[in-house]
């Protein structure tokens, strides 16, 4: 379970201090999905980096499975906006970065993940040789390589064309249902939040505060986009963002 309690985060020091997040509280049950939506630059990514252990809040607490988050943990995987692939490493090395850093040889799971995502044939290629969609899939493979219990995603599908974006959203949904990890998604795309988030937190302009909570419990099927609850959630999110 992820618990963020009265989270306040500031960047910089002295006169240059900027408050990015103020008094944000939420909970996410094991295997659940949460989307954070808000205007660009409001502090969504800051919350995600704090959840991953890369940033410390100046006040408030974050706990994952009852333990305070003080540094990156193996069971918490982060997918970055542009996949964060290292151009000088091959697809195989990028996908298994966490394992290679900890000195472990990638096991059967690594090959299985690459095969599942259709990347095994290009395992020796370098990122500049891949299409944008493939790069995002390598980012997903990297996140899944350690079999995480929490998956954090920072606008993972930004700047992709509509069709590729929907395909990868479908892939996220399938993987989430198969592997039962908890998922926190940061996005500014209303439809993406409505398709993947069981609970959706709408954030204010900087500093990010919770403006509204939209429950979206029917998430889980690939044809959810065609249903009435999806349309209702999209309308509710639009209204909340425009307020």
């Amino acid at each position: 379970m992820i618990e963020a309690n009265a989270l306040t985060i500031e960047h910089g020091t002295g006169k240059r201090t900027v408050r990015a997040v103020q008094d944000v509280t939420f909970r996410l049950e094991d295997g659940g999905s949460l989307a954070l939506i808000g205007p660009s630059g409001c502090g969504k990514t800051t919350i995600l980096l704090a959840l991953s252990g890369l940033l410390s809040p100046c006040s408030g607490t974050i706990q994952i499975d009852g333990r305070p988050v003080t540094r990156p943990r193996r069971q918490v995987a982060l997918i970055l906006q542009n996949a964060g692939l290292l151009p000088w490493k091959t697809v195989w090395q990028n996908a298994n970065l966490s394992l290679l850093l900890s000195g472990e040889y990638p096991r059967h799971n690594a090959r299985q993940v690459l095969e599942h995502l259709g990347l095994y044939a290009v395992r020796s290629s370098f990122p500049p040789q891949l299409s944008e969609g493939m790069k995002r899939r390598v980012g997903i493979a990297r996140a899944l390589s350690t079999a995480p219990s929490v998956l954090l995603m920072d606008e993972p599908l930004a700047s992709l064309d509509t069709l590729t974006r929907e395909r990868i959203q479908d892939l996220f949904l399938t993987l989430w249902q198969e592997r039962r990890f908890s998922m926190v998604l940061v996005t500014h795309d209303i439809e993406e939040a409505a398709f993947l988030g069981q609970r959706i937190l709408v954030l204010t302009e900087r500093p990010a505060r919770i403006k509204a909570l939209v429950e979206n419990p029917d998430v889980g099927s690939l044809d959810y986009r065609e249903t009435e609850p999806f349309g209702r959630t999209v309308r509710a999110l639009r209204e909340a963002l425009e307020q």
Partner: protein
């Protein structure tokens, strides 16, 4: 194959221009002031043993100076580039010491290291060191934050961040600066090798023959140019080996910009 042919064509044009310049200069002065490439290369063959020994001496001096400069400048430059507080402390020292002409210190270096190879290497290495240091520092400053976040979130230690991100990301820029320093290194090599009384190497060879056997001196100059070319090719090969991702075939974008002539508009 096309690449090799272009290289050969380029060399042929250069030799042709040299020959033309020699004909022009010697024609105007009615004496052989500037030996042409054929004279120089025939002297190269006739003095092969002496020239080869000088070439080897100069080559190892320059390579040793480059290795010393790289070993000192790369770790320091990368560390300065990523550490703002240390950068503020060290940068003024760099800016003050960087413009000092090494030639001004040559007598001091001879006193310190003697007139052998050590003084020559000690004169060349600092010149290369500053060039590489400034490049490594700049490259480390411009690392994409996303790459750092990526490895940090995967649990990398500070040492792993340097090894897996900062060093490989900076490598192309460092190698470009190494290429730039080859020309500079050869210039300083020449100066260092001509300054001591009993000297060796290509600089001394050129100096020895410049007044009375200019064709031999130009054979030495050609050998110095060949030394530069060999080092350039060496750095290119090292870059192809260490920066393989830069030389891979990328997916076609379908965009091919055409340069329009004024008359086409």
């Amino acid at each position: 194959m096309k690449r090799v042919l272009t290289y050969v064509l380029s060399l042929v044009i250069l030799l042709f221009l040299w020959e033309m310049a020699a004909l022009l200069v010697n024609g105007i002065n009615h004496t052989i002031l500037l030996p042409g490439p054929f004279n120089a290369f025939s002297q190269m063959v006739k003095n092969a043993a002496e020239l080869w020994a000088a070439f080897l001496t100069s080559t190892w001096r320059l390579i040793l100076a480059m290795l010393i400069a790289l070993a000192a400048a790369v770790p320091l430059g990368l560390f300065i580039g990523r550490n703002t507080a240390f950068d503020r402390l060290v940068s003024p020292m760099i800016y003050i010491t960087y413009p000092i002409p090494q030639v001004a210190l040559i007598l001091f270096l001879f006193i310190l290291f003697g007139t052998g190879s050590a003084a020559k290497v000690a004169m060349i290495a600092p010149v290369l060191f500053f060039q590489i240091l400034v490049s490594a520092r700049g490259a480390a400053k411009n690392i994409e934050e996303e790459h750092l976040t990526s490895v940090l979130s995967a649990g990398a230690t500070p040492r792993q961040v340097y090894w897996h991100v900062i060093l490989p990301a900076s490598l192309p820029e460092i190698l470009t600066s190494v290429r730039v320093t080859i020309g500079l290194g050869i210039t300083f090599l020449y100066i260092a090798e001509t300054q001591a009384g009993q000297s060796s190497g290509l600089g001394a060879f050129i100096n020895k023959y410049m007044l009375f056997r200019r064709d031999r001196a130009f054979a030495g100059i050609a050998a110095m140019a060949i030394l530069g070319l060999v080092l350039y090719i060496g750095v290119d090969l090292i870059e192809r080996l260490l920066c393989r991702w830069k030389y891979v075939k990328r997916p076609p974008t379908g965009i091919r910009l055409r340069w329009k002539r004024r008359s086409d508009r």
